[in-house]
């Protein structure tokens, strides 16, 4: 996927131009960048700033407001443990603690090998079948520690 893709300003310039005619194009463009690179590099923020005539400070401010946008590179896989209420009542905080321990990082951080980032996830609307986790946005239901370990193990082997 997106991991450590080389930054191509020309290519991204074309992407920005696609949004030229819509009103309020910033967030869709930031999504594009996040999808392409796994984060929003400074060069890209500056490019967006020039093209949209929005100050780079504002772009940075917007990017840092939304949890789905990252301003530093993220890991190859983004793992999220749902911390919604129902998942919480069903023990998701234990899952999170377990994952933090086994990957030796905190929520929001990336493993030193660049493999995994634990992203904060608030309720993903699958409460009836929780606790849930997400792997690169895909939801896995009825999670427990064993299943979680297996998923991480499988990903590490890939």
């Amino acid at each position: 996927m997106n991991h450590l893709k080389e930054i191509d300003l020309k290519q991204f310039g074309i992407i920005i131009d696609r949004f030229k005619d819509i009103k309020g194009p910033l967030i869709p463009i930031l999504h594009e960048a996040e999808n392409l690179y796994g984060y929003i590099p400074i060069e890209i923020q500056n490019l967006i700033s020039q093209k949209l005539k929005i100050s780079n400070a504002e772009i940075n401010g917007v990017a840092s407001f939304y949890t789905m946008f990252h301003t530093e590179p993220t890991g190859k896989y983004q793992i999220g443990i749902c911390t919604g209420t129902t998942c919480h009542l069903n023990g998701s905080s234990k899952l999170l603690k377990h994952l933090e321990q086994s990957l030796d990082i905190k929520e929001g951080e990336t493993t030193s090998d660049g493999q995994f980032t634990i992203i904060p996830v608030k309720c993903i609307g699958n409460c009836d079948v929780g606790p849930n986790i997400t792997v690169d946005g895909r939801v896995h239901n009825n999670m427990n520690i064993k299943k979680l370990d297996k998923i991480i193990e499988d990903l590490s082997k890939r």
Binding site: I27, L30, H31, Y66, T83, T85, P120, K122, G125, D128
Partner: protein, 459 residues
Amino acid sequence: MNQKILDQMKNNFLKTNPIFTTPKNVHPLEQRIVLKNYQVIDPESIIEYIAKDGYQSISKALKMTQEDVVNEVIKSKLRGRGGVGFPTGLKWKFALEYESDEKYVICNADEGEPGTFMDRHILEGDPHNNIEGMMIAGYAIGATKGYIYVRAEYPLAAARLQKAIYDAKELGILGNNIFDTNFNFNIEIRLGAGAFICGEETALMESIEGKRGLSRNKPPFPAQIGLFEEPTIINNVETIASITSIITNGGEWYKKIGTEKSTGTKVFSLSGKTKNNGIFEIPMGISLREVIYNIGGGMKEGSTFKAAFTGGPSGGVLDETHLDVIIDFDSLVKYSSIMGSGGIIIADQNNCIIDTIKHFMEFNADESCGKCTPCREGTTILYNMLDDITKGKSSMEDLEKLKHLAHVVSSTSLCGLGQAAPDPIFSAIRHFYDEFVDHIKHKVCKAGVCDMPVTKGGE
């Protein structure tokens, strides 16, 4: 596209494929209006939607005056399903009255409230119904542009909406001169990016405009100065999904469903320690007991009912003495809770009320946009106070302080998040006072959740 072609398409389809799937697990208490096509049609097929009388309502609406459409909605007494329950027709009336070259309709599909997932099912199951509802809203107030703000956590809903918009455009349903009238309407999808506050209507508009999702002070209300400073109506997914049926069957028909002040049906999402979790659509007026023991099939094996959380992190908590309370917009308020957008979470003996309230407060503090002082600072301080309680570090005096600050935050905050964030505290103290006393005085968490100096089981 015109009426004739639409009818033809419907008839041709019915001739060759007369049978639709029957949805599974429809409870006998249910009445499906919003969910009329849910699991009935293929959500990715516009033809199936049309065959189920799809796009007939907008066609009908276009033959009415804008005022008449608004009046029909007023007559239905439909109240917004996004949580606050503001009369939808009235909102539309305001927007119609403000003159402007450009107006907007926004469908709020940000559904960020934990334990709530009906909007996801509605959109995934019947996206065209929402598009049609937005078109009617657009026509009614004089807007030509609609936005659906979908949280990015719902990729399937977004994809299905995208396909639905594409198909509707292809068929000439969306676009210019709809049904040979001079009504033009287009819809754009916008994805959220992980900020609960963007479900709040003004923050949502900021987000569409490409800004940080900071709430705006009201007034002015969106109907007056909204998106891109134009008059805007913003409605919840379920509200919009109710519109087609209201136009087809009339406001009078709708008004008769449900209770007097809360008309129509409500889609609830049930989760937690009940057996049958999921969504169901019920006429307003059902009791909590029926939700849990009838529809929910009772508590799970080994679980005893302890509490029901309604209205999410800014709602409240009810105990077993409230089982016969009716769930609608107004009834729960007496018990310091709200129906909110219809998420019901059932807790059992192994769940700690204070821990859950603390969890809500953590959520609110995390999701506070940070613009206004009381919410930004207050939610975190409230969290710290609750945290102290769950760690056995508080005195009964601190409980008074907690209540006091809760009042301050709710009365001085800028938007709904801060104003409602302390609410769970009020109902928890009211209905589970003993549990506070246990934690504070006896340093005991009977549910065994909190890390108390003395753990587990109590005595």
